[in-house]
Every structure is written in C-alpha cells, then in structure tokens.
C-alpha cells in the first residue's frame, strides 16, 4: 500500500508535540505511549496516520513509497527506547538526549518535510553492507 504524504506530515506534527511535552513534563509515560506509536508505525500501521485517514477522506494528489517512512519510524523507535531506558534507570541526561534527537527529526519532518531517518538509511548501509533489507 502506498503512503499518503499528508498523513506522514500530520503524524510528524503530532510526534513533535508529544516529544516536546515529554521533555517539558519529564514524563516517561508519555514517552512510553510515543514508543508504542513508533513500534506500530514500524511494524504495522502508524496510529496518527490512521487518525488522519479517519478525519480526512479525500485522496492525496500523489502517494509515496511506504518503506522510507517505515524505516524512519524504526529509527524513531530506537531513540524512544533508549530514552525510556534513560528514564527507567534514572539516567536523565540519556533520556533527554535521546528524546531530543527524536524530537529534532520529527520537527524537521513536520516543519520542513526533511526525513532524517530516511537519509540515515544509506549511512547505515555503508557501515553494515552485509545486511539485506
């Protein structure tokens, strides 16, 4: 199934707000929710995208390859898990650094349409050429 770029952008905006709230409130629970959203996005369907589809019924002008945003969700998941580990072990700098990195990527996607996670793909392949996706 092709991805709707509007839904991706919408999802990035919600992710930005949630991650900013995690940093402002220092809330591990909220980060846990976002971690779940990343996991669903990486392995099943992005929940915010589903919300967008429920709200907006018109079809998009053009669609995108769903693999890049899915990969980016997996990258987000890694950072969110590291952030959660930071909160759970009480290593606050780790929690905040990891959450801030995920927030930066989500914000760039929402505000400018840049997908940092997607661009990391080639870098990761360069370091790890053996793995086939």
């Amino acid at each position: 199934m092709r991805a709707d770029p509007r839904a991706l952008r919408f999802g990035a905006a919600i992710t930005t707000v949630i991650l900013a709230l995690v940093l402002i409130l220092g809330s591990a629970w909220l980060l846990a929710l976002q971690t779940l959203a990343f996991a669903l996005g990486a392995f099943w369907r992005q929940p915010y995208g589903l919300l967008f589809k429920a709200l907006v019924t018109s079809s998009p002008e053009e669609t995108e390859d769903p693999r890049p945003p899915r990969f980016a969700q997996a990258v987000g998941l890694v950072f969110a898990v590291v952030g959660l580990v930071g909160f759970l072990t009480g290593i606050t700098p780790l929690a905040f650094t990891a959450t801030a990195a995920a927030l930066l990527a989500a914000f760039l996607n929402a505000a400018f349409g840049f997908c940092l996670g997607c661009e990391m793909y080639l870098m990761i392949r360069r370091l790890n050429p053996g793995r086939v996706s």
Binding site: I24, L103, Y121, L122, M123
Partner: protein, 142 residues
C-alpha cells in the same frame, strides 16, 4: 523545558540551513569515473550521474529534473545508480546521502557535485562548465 526549546531552535536553524544549501552544486575536481566503473556509457559531451536509493523521496524529483535536462541538451546522458547495489562506488566517491548528483565532463572527470535535490537552472549552468572543459580534453585525445 529548556531542552525542548533548544531542540526546536536547533531544528529551525538546521531546517533553514538545509533549505539554503541543499542541492547546491559545488566544484569538486580530481576524481574520475569511467564507463566501466559506472556500468553505463558516458554521454558524448557530459554525464549526469545520480545516486539513488529506494528509501529516498527527493530522488524521484531529481530524476525528473535530470531527465528533462538530458533530453534538452544534446550529448548529455543521465545515469542513475542504485546506491545500495554499488556500495563500492558509494565508498570510493564518498557519497553520504541520496540523491547525490555528479556532473561529469566528456572524459568522466567530476566537475560538480550536489548532495540533495539540485535546481534545474543550477544543473544547466554546471553542464555549461562541464561541456566547456571538453575542447582541451578532446584536443589531447586527437
């Protein structure tokens, strides 16, 4: 609180910087690419080499731009390389992102290089430079 504000501020700076610098064609002399390493014949006058991945949204728009330019200027070839299947070349040419566009002159010297989606006018200008390299190279070939 401060971390959130600082991160978003950094995001704005990075985003604006990217808007400004992305896809700029920079002079990048020295390296050379042959038809053999490329796996495709070079253009008669110049070649536009594009590195792409499946995981790359701007690659599609870049492909459209380069195809249009190649169709417009005679003797110019557009070669698209799947970066994942040519990691050797990616490492050799130090390609960090996709799309990366290389502008080669008729002999395969890299004249210009852009990472990110280049503007059409910039590509045409860079081609002008690549083609003007041509007479001297052809002269020592003949």
């Amino acid at each position: 609180m401060w971390v959130a504000v600082a991160t978003v501020t950094l995001g704005v700076v990075v985003g604006l910087g990217r808007l400004l610098l992305d896809g700029r064609l920079r002079a990048k002399g020295g390296s050379m690419v042959t038809a053999d390493t490329l796996g495709a014949p070079l253009g008669e006058r110049a070649t536009l080499v594009q590195f792409s991945t499946a995981f790359c949204q701007p690659c599609r728009a870049t492909r459209r731009i380069l195809d249009e330019v190649a169709a417009m200027v005679p003797g110019v070839a557009h070669v698209e390389i799947d970066a994942e299947s040519r990691l050797d070349l990616v490492k050799q040419l130090d390609i960090m992102r996709t799309p990366t566009v290389l502008v080669l002159d008729s002999r395969g010297h890299i004249v210009k290089r852009a990472s990110g989606q280049p503007r059409k006018a910039d590509v045409i200008a860079a081609l002008g430079q690549a083609v003007s390299h041509e007479p001297s190279h052809n002269a020592d070939e003949m």
